[in-house]
Symmetry: C2
Subunit: 126 residues, 2 copies
DNA sequence: GTAACCAGTTACCTGTAGTTAACTAATAGC
DNA sequence: GCTATTAGTTAACTACAGGTAACTGGTTAC
């Protein structure tokens, strides 16, 4: 970006780019709920996922937050919102093709969470 | 866990476990700075990383936040803190062996951030 | 003695993420 | 008419993440 300091070398430059990329990710995916919602929806692609069902199964999320997060995710083209012709009306939320790009992300966070819990157990025993 | 509802099947149960694991990850790694710090330190394992240097190179972080986040990371056994015998005294921060378990996590967040930026560009052009 | 470097700490403040609870509006069943 | 379901919205609040700026305490160099 523009002028480069003399002491800047390739590794430093690429490091800054990496950090910038990660800032982007954190900004878009950060917070308590977005990745949980995305994970839930990708685990349920074969089913109809309507609002109340999602709220019931993602423990602790309020209607307000779910509504807000789903809007954000829709704006970022991660999920689609479709009105179902049922009575009472239900709204189906589904992961988009682009939303599936988050599968590796949530995969690794799930795995890290599981591993971390194991690690804590071991630390206590030893 | 304990009692399992009748309608609960294996997929649903494992989904809840996945979500719990991801909640753990988000709780420990969440926020604006922790993963950035970890990424920075893993990219600089061959060098001495003292406080001011980290603050200079992670753009925008305040001394207060850096201090707090480093403490948290140390408590979670992700980084070590060693006093260097220099004048003036410097404190070296380094990623632990366990802290390296975050490399795949930050790798994928860096990659997703880069890809997302590309995707946005394409969307604008089309 | 004063300016500059290091590694923080402290106090004060703000913005926003997130919570709770009440409410709208539509439909269906009893 | 009453209750229950759906999908949210709105208001009022809280708590904490994070920002800003001044300050400590030690060392070196001029």
């Amino acid at each position: 970006m523009g002028t480069v300091k003399n002491k800047g070398n390739v590794r430093e430059a690429s490091c800054q780019e990496e950090l910038t990329a990660m800032r982007d990710s954190i900004e878009i995916l950060g917070g308590k709920w977005k990745l949980l919602i995305m994970r839930y929806l990708t685990n349920r692609t074969s089913e109809n996922n309507h609002f109340k069902k999602i709220q019931r199964e993602i423990n602790g999320i309020s209607a307000k937050m779910l509504s807000k997060e789903l809007k954000d995710l829709e704006l970022n083209l991660m999920v689609t919102r479709t009105i179902q012709d049922t009575r009472p009306v239900t709204i189906d939320y589904a992961v988009t093709e682009y939303g599936k790009s988050l599968i590796p992300v949530t995969d690794i966070l799930v795995q890290w969470g599981l591993d971390h819990r194991e690690k804590i157990k071991e630390d206590i025993l030893v």
